[in-house]
């Protein structure tokens, strides 16, 4: 489909949905001066035209229609049963302010899922208000503020320590929350040294926010010493469990000394990606921190019913309205129940197995390098690689290779979070979903494209050739004179450009 932008579509007078005539005259009900003067320039289309347009667009999305080993996102099967359940009125048509008596099933799901996460992490209480993993990291910074405010140390403890390989949301939310960010660098073995940590710790330390294993597949074996040192310094230790998939069923955050952790239900627990949410960052913490959690909490009453506990004077309040994306919690609960303890452990087993299997295939491809090449152990759930050697040889790097891979139905790989510590990085994650054949195919396509980069570089440089559109100009979106996040801006600037051209 060569699909126009919806703003160009339609004909005046067409309708996609109509409403009954009001029983009374509405015009008189708008206060003077508050009536809209010019109608919004929205398209006027039939229901069928709208449907067809978005069906066309949907067919122009590759994603998991092919093989997507999209690293750090833990591509899982998103069970369609849960999607159907999510459209049931008993889920979709629930208002968050309904009386607790009318949403007992939902609260039971939330509470029981809380119990599941407690068991998996050793924490004492979970809350689901955060609408994504980064929002859960932010929740941690809020809880940290509340905790130290209660202790009278808020002004003193104004630093949060993280590592350069922690997900960017950790330093970013720490900074947004008003903390100074102290970033530890990696050393040869793939993680910062105890000495570096010690040097960073001080009476100003509020918290440590860290991932483990990191995106290189390296596990910090000193993590218990770390949490002990942070605790000793009076700080809190937060475990960003973005990379939980490879350690599920093996370790528990609390037993490693963490005070809090978070799980991404839209990644690790089978919720659909949706291109980026609705998501849930499930935030769990120790009993010591629980009083500071955003409220309300879902609790089980002594009579076996479920309720909302809003009477939490030390709570930090809210990080988002209401209880969170409970429709996603419902999906995560269903996923966890379908997997069971054995299944969850097996998923970790298979994810780690698949990563090491994939590594063998990838390292056999000339032009591919591995992060931390000196770390000779088996890696965890994912590993970062680089096409630095290929780039040196052919001038073509991971962007060009990724574009060409999409011509084979393979979505471009995830590269790396900032900063790039490996040249031309890419971070494939096989997880437990993708079959051996899928992984083989992915590696074969990469090998083929690397070969093409040598044999027919122009083919790769100008890729994709088989996608809905040709390679985009990515400079215009950074140019104030040309960027346009709306059609109205585009039309204005486009007209300006044409006018200039005409001069």
């Amino acid at each position: 489909w060569n699909e126009p932008v919806v703003m160009e579509m339609g004909v005046a007078g067409r309708r996609g949905v109509v409403f009954p005539q009001p029983e009374t005259d509405a015009a008189a009900l708008i206060p003077a001066g508050m009536r809209r003067r010019t109608k919004p320039a929205l398209p006027e289309m039939t229901e069928h035209d709208v449907l067809r347009h978005y069906l066309h667009l949907s067919q122009q999305v590759l994603g998991m229609m092919g093989v997507s080993l999209f690293g750090t996102c833990t591509m899982k099967y998103n069970p369609r049963l849960s999607e159907a359940l999510g459209l049931r009125p008993q889920m979709a048509e629930i208002h968050p302010l309904q009386p607790a008596a009318s949403i007992q099933g939902l609260l039971e799901i939330v509470h029981n899922f809380d119990l599941i996460l407690r068991e998996l992490s050793g924490m004492d209480q979970f809350v689901f208000q955060a609408a994504g993993g980064a929002d859960a990291a932010y929740t941690h910074t809020c809880v940290t503020r509340g905790y130290f405010a209660a202790k009278g140390e808020l002004e003193q403890r104004n630093e949060i320590i993280t590592s350069i390989q922690a997900h960017p949301c950790n330093p970013a939310t720490a900074a947004t929350a008003g903390f100074k960010v102290v970033t530890l660098m990696l050393e040869e073995n793939g993680y910062p040294s105890i000495d570096a940590l010690k040097a960073a710790l001080s009476p100003r330390t509020a918290a440590l926010m860290i991932n483990n294993p990191d995106d290189m597949g390296v596990y910090n074996p000193q993590i218990r010493e770390w949490t002990a040192l942070v605790k000793q310094a009076g700080g809190l230790a937060f475990y960003d469990h973005a990379n939980f998939n490879g350690v599920m069923g093996r370790i528990r955050a609390r037993e490693l000394g963490f005070d809090a952790c978070m799980f991404m239900l839209h990644k690790t627990f089978g919720g659909p990606k949706g291109g980026g949410g609705p998501a849930v960052g499930a935030y769990g913490c120790s009993a010591e921190l629980a009083p500071f959690l955003p409220k309300p909490l879902v609790v089980k009453n002594s009579d076996g019913s479920y309720g909302l506990d809003d009477d939490r004077p030390q709570s930090v309040g809210k990080v988002r309205e209401f209880l969170g994306n409970l429709h996603i919690v419902m999906r995560a609960y269903a996923w966890a129940r379908a997997m069971g303890a054995d299944g969850i452990k097996e998923a970790a087993d298979l994810a780690v197995l698949a990563n090491n299997y994939m590594e063998k295939k990838l390292l056999a491809i000339p032009g591919v390098a591995r992060s931390n090449p000196e770390a000779k152990t088996w890696r965890m759930e994912m590993t970062r690689y680089g096409l630095g050697p290929l780039k040196e040889e052919t001038g073509l790097g991971v962007v060009e290779v990724g574009n060409r891979m999409t011509d084979y139905g393979i979505d471009a790989p995830w590269l790396s979070h900032e900063p790039w510590v490996v040249p031309e990085p890419f971070t494939p994650e096989a997880g437990e979903l993708w079959s051996k054949e899928d992984i083989d195919l992915w590696c074969e396509v990469l090998a083929k494209v690397c070969d093409e980069a040598r044999q027919d570089p122009e083919l790769v440089r100008t890729a994709p050739h088989n996608a809905p559109i040709g390679r985009v100009d990515s400079e215009a979106p950074e140019d104030p004179a040309r960027w346009a996040t709306t059609w109205r801006a585009y039309q204005r600037k486009h007209a300006a450009t044409r006018a200039r051209a005409a001069e």
Binding site: M34, R35, L57, V61
Partner: protein, 465 residues
Amino acid sequence: MTIAHPWMANSVPAIKQAMLREIGAPSIEALFEQIPAEHRTAHDFALPPALRSEPELRRHMLSLLRKNTSCEENLSFLGAGIWQHHVPAICDEIAGRSEFLTSVWGTAMSDHGRNQAWFEFASQLGELVACDFVGLPVYSWGCAAGNAVRLASRLNGRRRVLVPEWMDPERLAVIRQYCEPEGMPNRIAVELVAQRAADGLIDLDDLRTKLNDGVTAVYFENPGFLGIIETQGAEIARLAHAAGAEVIVGVDPISLGVLAPPPDYGADIVVGTTQTLGAHMSAGGGAGGFIASRDEERYAREYPTLNISITTTRNPGEHGFALSLSHQSSYGMREQGKDWTGNSVYLTAIANAVYMSLMGPEGFAELGELVLARSHDAARRLDAIPGVSVRWKSGFFREFVVDFSATGRSVAQVNAALLKRGIFGGKDLSADIPALGQCALFAVTEVHAPEDIARLATTLEEILR
């Protein structure tokens, strides 16, 4: 496990063995060598029994969902941040398409269709709110407001924000969180501006008193929390601008078929909800927010959102859609980025785009008029019940305040009685705004037919008799 799991392709024992053979590992256990023994949890996890078969899982989940009763079987007048509007069937159809549902982030070329849909979300929303720059969605209206206040503060370096006294406490709590608590060095103080008892509008005198050169922004909403249409927007904006403050207006875009868009009365930044535009309530999971403004570089360079810009491609005349200004996000600059971003409610944005395409200008106008008419009809009808009065009898959109004080019953009692008769009454305001007495906030939308309003009224009469 002896039987392969339907969601794990390599859970077949023979495949596992083949993969182990290929890599030369003795066992899967061996692959975990990096984790020191003392880190490992000794016991197996005590989770509820697995329901690996879909029929069992379905049965279990339905048994849980069946314990809920929804706003479909019940008649609901709840609003206050999440509203029951009609969700057209094709919004579900499109947002449920596997292609959109499971997409991640490929390239501008491989995810073209989805990026275009996002651009169409921003473009259509931009028309409704009359703004040229619209970011991709944020978590909620409250989060959008919080981000906008911080954005304003980055623009002018000031650290006080004025908000209406009778704000949604839910949303206000979120804004406060974004503005940091007392004791933080960069805290933005959230201060309340009084609203007039007579008409519920912002008290301009109080506003003038509080406006000074420390104010980064004045934030107000249209309609406000209590449903009231703030008619003094132009004057508020004039005062704020005179004091060097930004004007941030929160709206529900569904009202903008009939109500003037905030830039018409001077708003610099517009925020609001996306839930009403084709998203189910989902117990609050439908929440979503947006941030919009003029397309001026100084604003754009402070957006914390990811943004999609239209652009060109190698093929002459072809549109493409690519990320814009992503380096300034937390992905690009970590702690130097603008606030932070991450997964948000991007799938909802696609439902929003479908919704706005379906509605068109006439749909929004019709719906807006219908909501105005029906909510005023309902208010009139309730106001006629002895002992019941509507606090402000006109000048509202969708929501209105019903005062039960004169009935001798508390809102809690009234709502409990309504619940027994299958009705969710309005949100109880008595704790949030004690000054109002026993008041409740009723929301009436296009899903409420005249007979629903009649049923509410006669049921209330029966209860209060």
